[in-house]
């Protein structure tokens, strides 16, 4: 990937996630919390660091983005409000959009709803399971 394209991909992730990766001080709380640790190739702290370094392509190609449970524990625990889950979410979204296919259709939504889940988790799950 050319430098410009790489930068564009990075900018897109940063824009859509709204995350400031520079705030990360690499304490590892996110990875320490992550329930899906064993399943993941890149763990939440690596995720943040790789985004900081602009390695979006590597992340997009990794199955890790679909192993994330979207439980948001990392966001909840992060002492600096970096919100790694939002980054993972953003990369996942970019991959799904790239593939361009099967978006969830509005009429499918009600059947999938679970009253007990937080809104954000539902939205995230819909994106994930409908690829």
């Amino acid at each position: 990937m050319s430098h410009d394209k790489k930068q564009a991909a990075l900018d897109e992730i940063l824009r859509s996630s709204g995350v400031d990766v520079r705030k990360c001080m690499r304490c590892g709380k996110c990875t320490a919390t992550c329930p899906a640790f064993d399943e993941m190739e890149y763990h939440p702290h690596q995720f943040v660091y790789m985004v900081e370094k602009g390695e979006i392509e590597k992340l997009a190609a990794s199955p890790s983005i679909f192993k994330c449970l979207s439980c948001f524990a990392c966001m909840e625990r992060c002492p600096r409000q970096v919100e790694p889950a939002k980054l993972i979410e953003a990369v996942r979204l970019s991959v799904i959009r790239e593939k361009g296919a099967n978006h969830l259709k509005p009429e499918q939504v009600p059947a999938l709803l679970d009253e007990d889940l937080p809104q954000q988790a539902i939205t995230s799950a819909f994106r994930k399971y409908s690829k």
């Binding site: 400031d20 001080m25 690499r26 702290h45 790789m50």
Partner: protein, 665 residues
């Protein structure tokens, strides 16, 4: 026979967990002469001291043994308590059963046995203790500060503020020290010169302060309250009184090729020079190693130009003798030269610089007038790599560097990175670190600002190789978080080198008989409770000479040292150490052996009349000790062939009694 009281301290569980304190109290209670023996949780506490005082009164004790922590910790405490009850303080002895027993032994039976033996030795000693009375000595109400950096300046100003005279001895031609070379200060980023130079002016204008610039301490004699110091005023070949600091000589001197040490050798100065515009005293100095007149006898330009007639090529070093009551060491530091790390290329690549060199490259008064240009081609660097911990935190056993953390590098590197990113946003800045250590008020926030606001790339890892190829510095480094080796093409590499004590500190410490640690930092009297005093009475510590410090910490310590000095100078008389040598005139044969070994000249000989046999009178030459001058080392006691010399408080019989008690078991 003495009536001795024994007090065993639990020190919470520090002693009681390993030593059976009840058993010790019981065993020592059976020793001859012991009339009272008990144990208590904290002997040093108010109630512990009361317990001791009550026992002294009720049991009419004539001697006290406290089995507790090191006498270096609480001997004075217990002696003061005894004195309040009318017992001579020197009738109190300490058996060290914490540092020497409970803290180093695990087996209770073994530790208890050792505690009993140490207690017995102390009891045996107390049996032979005699009440001692401390003499008094006068205090010279003037202080000496060695070193004119920010530490020395602050100490001197604070002492002068209290109304005492202070002399500053500075080996360079100007005071100011390292802080004068610094561009901006963290975490507020105000300019160092703007906050330092007014203080330098205050020093120059203060009537109580005398500056000996371009001078060194030659010798120190005497003791607390009464130091006699010889100061060597090095010949600067310029009459300080006449020189007006106009600077014409420094502009016209034809010898232009002298490396400018103030700018870390990054540019040149003349052979006659004033280090920087705000120098105090603002007096020119001739560098005899480079001056054409001094070397060949042909030139004399400065002499011809000097309107004040201040130039004197024949000036000699002069020695000034001064008396002081207290001495403050403020000898400061130097950043280590990283030439031994070949992999970092400092010796081979011009564009690998130290942080202090970068400081000059960014300073408006520096060689580039404040524009950041790299030394080799004077071009603007676009990629800069900072390397942390160069020479710091190395294993103490090998020779790679210093074992300690230099403490200030994390912060000044964050400062440099931030300033560069602010002034030149087109520059990429990488910082390679092992840890980022930024404790301190507003310090971590400052470092985070460098990362978050200024986008400095902090990489956990180290630089392994720097090689120059066609004007580009090829940096090979590690990124431990991603487990990769990085290759960066840099224009400038900055090394945060370890802080090391100034080379002069070692010889000054020897003159002051102040102790130093293995890294040549001055040792404090107590690491926690007496951090600005040397174990040697009357010697105080200010600034980095005691350990790495940033400016705020240095200034705090400088003021703390000043407070201690003021406390000393405010006294009219000092209590002397009564544990001094004493000569038995009846045994003395006048041989002068003791006089020869005395380091203080405390022993003199007098001819005295003695009664001889058959009503005759004999005149004999006998030694007498001046108790105000004797410091109680005991060298004379061993040198004396007739056994006439003894040391009060550590007498031959007392030490022998201890030996016997220990060997008896």
């Amino acid at each position: 026979m003495q009536r001795i009281g024994v007090f065993i301290c639990h020190c919470g569980t520090n002693i009681a967990a390993t030593v059976d304190v009840k058993a010790v109290a019981e065993a020592l209670g059976r020793e001859p002469g012991v009339v009272f023996s008990t144990d208590y949780q904290y002997m040093c506490s108010e109630s512990g001291q009361t317990l001791m005082r009550d026992a002294i009164r009720e049991h009419k004790l004539t001697g006290v043994v406290v089995c507790s922590c090191s006498p270096r910790m609480h001997e004075t405490t217990f002696r003061k308590a005894a004195e309040k009850e009318g017992l001579n303080p020197y009738m109190v002895e300490i058996a060290n059963i914490r540092e020497q027993v409970s803290w180093i032994h695990k087996d209770v039976a073994e530790a208890t046995e050792k505690a009993i033996i140490l207690g017995r030795a102390a009891i045996a000693k107390v049996h032979l203790n005699k009440p001692l009375k401390a003499g008094e000595s006068p205090v010279t109400k003037r202080a000496l500060v060695i070193g004119g950096g920010i530490a020395g300046i602050q100490t001197a100003l604070d002492i002068a503020e209290a109304g005492f005279e202070v002399d500053i001895v500075e080996k360079e031609p100007t005071i100011g020290g390292k802080m004068a070379q610094i561009d901006k200060t963290f975490p507020t980023l105000d300019c160092a010169a703007c906050i330092l130079t007014p203080k330098m002016v205050d020093v120059a204008q203060n009537e109580k302060i005398k500056i000996f610039s371009y001078s060194e301490v030659e010798s120190v004699k005497g003791f607390v309250g009464n130091f006699k110091v010889a100061i060597r005023k090095k010949a600067r070949y310029v009459d300080e009184e006449k020189c007006t600091g106009c600077g014409i000589c420094t502009e016209k001197c034809p010898q232009k090729k002298v490396p400018n040490e103030f700018n870390m050798g990054l540019d040149t100065r003349r052979a006659i020079y004033i280090p920087f515009a705000q120098a105090v005293p603002k007096v020119a100095t001739i560098d005899a190693n480079y001056c054409t007149m001094m070397k060949t006898g042909k030139c004399g330009v400065c002499q011809k130009l000097c309107g004040a007639g201040a130039i004197d090529y024949k000036q000699q070093d002069t020695i000034v003798e001064r008396e002081y009551g207290a001495i403050v060491a403020a000898t400061g530091f130097n950043p280590m030269k990283p030439t031994q790390y070949n992999e970092l290329g400092y010796a081979t690549c011009e564009d690998v610089v130290t942080s202090l060199e970068l400081e000059r490259l960014m300073n408006a008064a520096g060689p580039t007038a404040g524009t950041l240009l790299r030394p080799s081609d004077k071009k603007h660097p676009h990629t800069i790599v900072f390397v942390q911990c160069v020479g710091s935190r190395c294993d103490a056993e090998n020779e790679k560097g210093k074992p300690y953390c230099s403490k200030i590098c994390c912060m000044y590197t964050a400062k440099h990175a931030m300033l560069i990113r602010e002034k030149y946003p087109d520059t990429e800045v990488y910082v390679f670190y092992i840890d980022v250590r930024t404790p301190g008020k507003n310090f971590d926030e400052f470092y985070r600002r460098a990362v978050e606001q200024y986008g400095v790339h902090y990489v956990k890892g180290q630089v392994g190789k720097v090689v120059e190829e066609n004007g580009v510095l090829k940096v090979q480094a590690s990124d431990l978080l991603s487990g990769e080796q990085l290759h960066i093409d840099a224009d400038l590499v900055v090394l945060a080198t370890a802080v090391e004590p100034d080379k002069s500190a070692r010889s000054i410490a020897t003159m002051l008989t102040a102790s130093m640690d293995t890294n040549d930092f001055f040792t404090e009297a107590h690491a926690k409770l007496r951090p600005v005093e040397s174990p040697t009475a009357g010697i105080f510590l200010s600034g980095v000479c005691q350990g790495p410090k940033d400016i705020p910490e240095t200034v705090s310590q400088a003021s703390a040292a000043a407070a201690k000095v003021i406390g000393l100078l405010a006294k009219d008389k000092l209590t002397c150490n009564p544990c001094v040598a004493e000569s038995d005139e009846m045994l003395c044969n006048g041989c002068s052996s003791c006089e020869k070994v005395c380091p203080y000249g405390a022993i003199t000989y007098t001819d005295k009349e003695f009664r001889g046999p058959n009503r005759t009178t004999l005149i004999r030459r006998v030694a007498s000790v001046n108790p105000a001058v004797c410091q109680g080392c005991g060298a004379c006691t061993v040198a004396c062939p007739s056994g006439a010399m003894d040391l009060k408080g550590f007498s031959n019989r007392q030490i022998m009694a201890e030996v016997d008690a220990i060997c008896k078991m």
